[in-house]
Symmetry: none
Subunit: 211 residues, 4 copies
Amino acid sequence: MTISAAMGAQRQLRRDAAENRELLLAAAAQVFAEQGLAAGVEEIARAAGVGVGTLYRRFPTKEALVAELVQDVLEKMSALADEATLVPSGQGLERYLEASSAYQAEHRGCLPKLWNISPDNEALVRVRRTIARLLAEAKHHGQVREDVTATDLTMLMWSIRGVIETTRDIAPDAWRRHLALLLAGLRPSSAPLGHRPMTRAQVDQVLADPS
Amino acid sequence: MTISAAMGAQRQLRRDAAENRELLLAAAAQVFAEQGLAAGVEEIARAAGVGVGTLYRRFPTKEALVAELVQDVLEKMSALADEATLVPSGQGLERYLEASSAYQAEHRGCLPKLWNISPDNEALVRVRRTIARLLAEAKHHGQVREDVTATDLTMLMWSIRGVIETTRDIAPDAWRRHLALLLAGLRPSSAPLGHRPMTRAQVDQVLADPS
Amino acid sequence: MTISAAMGAQRQLRRDAAENRELLLAAAAQVFAEQGLAAGVEEIARAAGVGVGTLYRRFPTKEALVAELVQDVLEKMSALADEATLVPSGQGLERYLEASSAYQAEHRGCLPKLWNISPDNEALVRVRRTIARLLAEAKHHGQVREDVTATDLTMLMWSIRGVIETTRDIAPDAWRRHLALLLAGLRPSSAPLGHRPMTRAQVDQVLADPS
Amino acid sequence: MTISAAMGAQRQLRRDAAENRELLLAAAAQVFAEQGLAAGVEEIARAAGVGVGTLYRRFPTKEALVAELVQDVLEKMSALADEATLVPSGQGLERYLEASSAYQAEHRGCLPKLWNISPDNEALVRVRRTIARLLAEAKHHGQVREDVTATDLTMLMWSIRGVIETTRDIAPDAWRRHLALLLAGLRPSSAPLGHRPMTRAQVDQVLADPS
DNA sequence: AATGAATGAGTGTTCATTCAT
DNA sequence: TATGAATGAACACTCATTCAT
């Protein structure tokens, strides 16, 4: 066997490896969405058309696979936030909230663990920065009351996640009603909100808490 | 031994049994709160200071224990709703939402889904009736917009539960901020909410769904 | 309380104790017959109308209760054998085999353990002596071939026990057909049986074997 | 790695798997023989030198393992019956009874009830058909009385099983004496047997009874 | 002496992870 | 490298036995 052939084989293997990785992530997303996080790894491997050994070659533990899935979701959120910045008149925030909620609703399952993210996670930092911009613009256009903070929006998304997890099987877009109520709550008002917002540090701690 | 002494002994035994029952429910609430519903029965028994056999003497299955816990919470909610009816000027609803959320925050986790309740459950029927009254009165006093339904309030509580579960360890009353936002959303407004509410049947299905 | 009253109470208790004993044995016989030896002690106590504690006061272990039941069966067998000696013309043996099989069929359940008897057990010694007499008389009247031994009869009863255990639920008197075949085998014949009989010592070992 | 090498590996894996399967069946047969069907799966796995997980990979439940054992015995019985058809002069039946009893004696206990067999089981149908032929031929050669039925032979084997279970540890071939007696009972005689035989339907019910 | 609540070792079964092939 | 067979700790649940009342 020649060197180039060996390298070709290597390259081939690398490509296969990458393919397997994507295959596994997609399979896991689907299986978790259908059966919840309690689904077995064997099931995921089968859905991906590989053996469990291959799964464990790509991801050291089931938890790591979930973390990867969460990372993917975060990247998607970041992309959605970026797209929302193109919406004019301060309505990007609303667009983002709707789009990211819809995405969560379609990819439920790994979401219970949307914690366990390091606060230094690059995608997290990015999406936060973008959301801060969307929020500022929304306030600037008078779409959102001045006393709303970025941490309020984080909490808002946790709240929608709770609704999605609870209702998805029976009423897949019930969350839209809840979002409508939340948006109504965000609108400008003379009455101040009745409690201080979470601090950024608290939010970071929540995300990092592995419980 | 006299009859009264015998009865005393009987009562004593019964009291012990009842004590153990309460002990087990309390232990289960705590352990589930700390570790989630996946916590083992052995752990719960240990926390209650009894053997697993005793747990199974009181509750035929783990699921039955959970159901009992849920029932207890429901009873408490019903009591809180009843108390809230005494608040004047249509502000009972707000009082109820705050009180029941605070109760959940203190007893978090026992009930990741407020699980497996029959729609015919008497306590559920009662609490729903009371909440409907609180809602009607709030509307009547102009505290709440006309297009809010009882199912919106159910969803609202699911959403608060999601926030509580996520934040409790780090920011035990962060949910108050979220509730403030929700209450702001409930206030009268000329703009209609952007999505139809869940139907009662859907809510019933969600509650009965064992997933 | 006077001494005589105390003694009266004592006597009362003694009578109750004996009553309870019989009650428990009867209950155990019935429950084992219905559900097999795997039936729980709680079930037996309930059938006897007492608590498990009382059962354990009378019998140190479940196994001891079974042993007592076995002893009762043995006593009954002995009585049946005695009655059979009154049958004329050497047909007492046949009578005994039929009667003891019928008794076993009605009291199945403890019988799987009709071993575990000490070879010195008085009732066992008695029934053996009587059966030996019945066998000798049957031979004397030409009802049974000469080369049949007492140990053959023991084995014969094990064989019937096996048939009873297997068929009782579906065909409660199928054993009668099997006994008819065995009796036909016992009839005189010029052809010798093809294998030496068990020794008495072997039978004793089988009975004493706790496996 | 070449395809043939890969297939070799595959075959190797499959052979190992099959080996483990046989190992487990043999271990189960032995453990059940020694301790009865109540023996734990852990014990069986240990006897086979594997973990419980492996046992459960091969057999979905303990019951399935037992069923497999029973099936194996049935297949063996069928083979023995087939061999016996080669014996001339109507003595094949006797040969079969001896051979199948000897087999049971060596594999005792695996099957306290020859358990849970569907009456449609192919091996059962086969062995029955062959035994019917052996019986007809035995009658034709005047070796067996005319009023003996196939169900009598089934009961006969249950009876031998009872004797084997009882005596095997102490007198491993005591059953031969019992079989001799049974064979004597099968010989032609003018006196009819004293009870009707079991029906085929009753036998089927006994086999299917899981008690 | 009688009760039945309490016990905990044991059961059959599952599943994340490892490792021989 | 990819496979899936093997592993064994963990799970929910049972039951013979003990012991406070």
